[in-house]
């Protein structure tokens, strides 16, 4: 079943056509990769999905409803969470605070509860704690709840970003180059983690990644875009053999480097 459909997305920045009539359908509980050379429009596509840019034409249907005109925070609550290519954590807050911030939209306490610290407040604080610990444990950060995010190692920061996105209880998770800058061991761990997100949590994942090994191993479906247009779509094996894709990467990039 299709979780998200993008119909004829077009986005211009001045004279630059970042996205041109992009069509994309993401099936539920799959890992769907979007690849393409730098500047192909992948990040613009992410921004359109999360509401930070508004497409000039076309629409995005998510869970059977158009997200056109929703604010970023509404979209986030509706079920699309993301991570960032250049990690953007709340660097001065602790690990668990970061995760708890992700839960913001699901919390119920209001000003009154907060002022008088009603039983509901304590109940919720307790539950968010537990939930944060559970999520951190899931991504492999157990025992690091009290560490300031900026002091985590690079790989742990990536994991924390994923945990924070999970706290939103998303249906669709957008991962923007999760393996960027990682060494082979960390990359492998990231691979496993991403697979567990799909298999254990039943998440649908949209992945942008340059690292071909990651893409080819993980993806159920790959969409290749170049100059804002879709040039190919299919399963990993089909994409690897596609001459257009190879041409877009100047023949060399599609190796397993």
């Amino acid at each position: 079943m299709a979780l998200l459909t993008a119909n004829g997305l077009t986005k211009r920045f001045g004279g630059l056509l970042a996205l041109k009539d992009l069509e994309l359908t993401i099936q539920e509980k799959t890992i769907h990769s979007v690849i393409g050379p730098n500047g192909a429009g992948k990040t613009t596509f992410f921004n359109c999905l999360t509401g930070f840019s508004i497409p000039d034409q076309g629409e995005i249907i998510f869970l059977g409803q158009s997200i056109h005109g929703m604010r970023p925070d509404q979209i986030a609550r509706w079920g699309i969470a993301r991570t960032y290519q250049n990690i953007r954590l709340f660097a001065n807050m602790t690990t668990s605070e970061n995760v708890i911030l992700g839960m913001h939209g699901h919390l119920q306490t209001n000003l009154f509860d907060a002022l008088f610290q009603t039983p509901r407040y304590w109940q919720e604080e307790y539950e968010t704690q537990k939930e944060a610990q559970r999520l951190l444990a899931f991504v492999g950060l157990e025992g690091k709840e009290a560490i300031i995010a900026a002091n985590l190692s690079y790989g742990d920061q990536r994991r924390l970003e994923i945990a924070r996105a999970l706290a939103l209880r998303p249906k669709l998770l957008l991962l923007d180059e999760p393996a960027a800058g990682m060494n082979p061991r960390e990359t492998n761990e990231m691979l496993t983690l991403t697979q567990r997100l799909r298999d254990e949590l039943g998440l649908t994942i949209l992945l942008i990644e340059h690292h071909m090994k990651v893409v080819m191993t993980l993806s159920d479906m790959i969409t290749v875009i170049d100059f804002g247009q879709k040039i190919a779509e299919g399963q990993p094996s089909a994409i690897q053999a596609n001459p257009q894709v190879i041409a877009a990467y100047l023949g060399g990039g599609a190796s397993t480097a």
Binding site: I54, D56, H68, G69, R71
Partner: protein
Amino acid sequence: MYLFGRRIDASQIIVWIIGGVLFLLVLIGSISTLLTERYTVKQWLDFIIFGAAQGGIYALIALGYTMVYGVLRLINFAHGEVFMSGAFSAYFLAAALDKAMLLNRYPIPCLLVIAFLSAAVSATVAVCLERIAYRPLRRAPRLVNLITAIGASFFLQYTFRGLYGSGVEVYPDIAILKGDFWGIRKTLLVVCGSALAMLGILYAFIQGTKTGRAIRAISEDLETAALMGVDVDQTIAITFAVGGSTAGIAGVLYALIFSQVNFFMGFVPGMKAFTAAVMGGIGNVPGAALGGFLLGIFEAVGPSLFLDGLGIPAANQLKDVIAFTLLVLILIFRPTGLLGERLAVKRT
């Protein structure tokens, strides 16, 4: 909700309504003033010329804001004080020259010397400010820089209050500037002319010289400019010096028109010049000039044009309200200014 392809939420609608109401008020006021023919054409012309002279001063101060913003992405809150420091210091020279009977015997050389001293003092203050307060914080978060600038502004203001006293000093009159020329106050003409000339010289400096090119390079991208061999520290210091001396000259021109100085004189012109800089697009040098003149004229014409028409008593008291309202409106509706933030494309 969508309107004209833009996403609008409730808060924006309220803002637009406020803006619309203000615009309507201005329109109604203007029409009613014009219909009642309260002022003659000559009076309107006088307003405009006074506004232009004042605007020239704003433009010169605004240049300092804009150039510093260009290189450091910092609003130099203390720039109004830089302006004050020159004008206030030069007063003592003017008074001494007047006492020695030189001012009226050789008015032009004397004025030049006064302007030079004012520019020198302002430039020194600006450079020291940069060296002591801003340079160590170049990589600090914006809030830290802003607070430093505010602190520096008060420090300078009250330093000069301590040094020169808290009274209002009156600049001596200059005989040849008295009277009218074709029905226009000579002082205003001189101020307007000098401001235009200074703006021209500065534009040529920024566009035509090697230092000017370095300043522009840093405005585009500080790190890259440094890698290309531009001496960043020195160029930034020069930017402050140029902005400071321009403000100093503006100070003397201000003293010519209003003929009095005190330690607090920098605050309001500083705010207005900032308005002018934003109006033209901060970081944009021609924009600052344009914004200055526009603001000066707007402020001179405004109280009579639309406040009188609305039947508001003593409309001239509200001159500053008009300028500040304009500032807030520009920041809300067009923060990139009329000509756009040309230099602020990167590093947003």
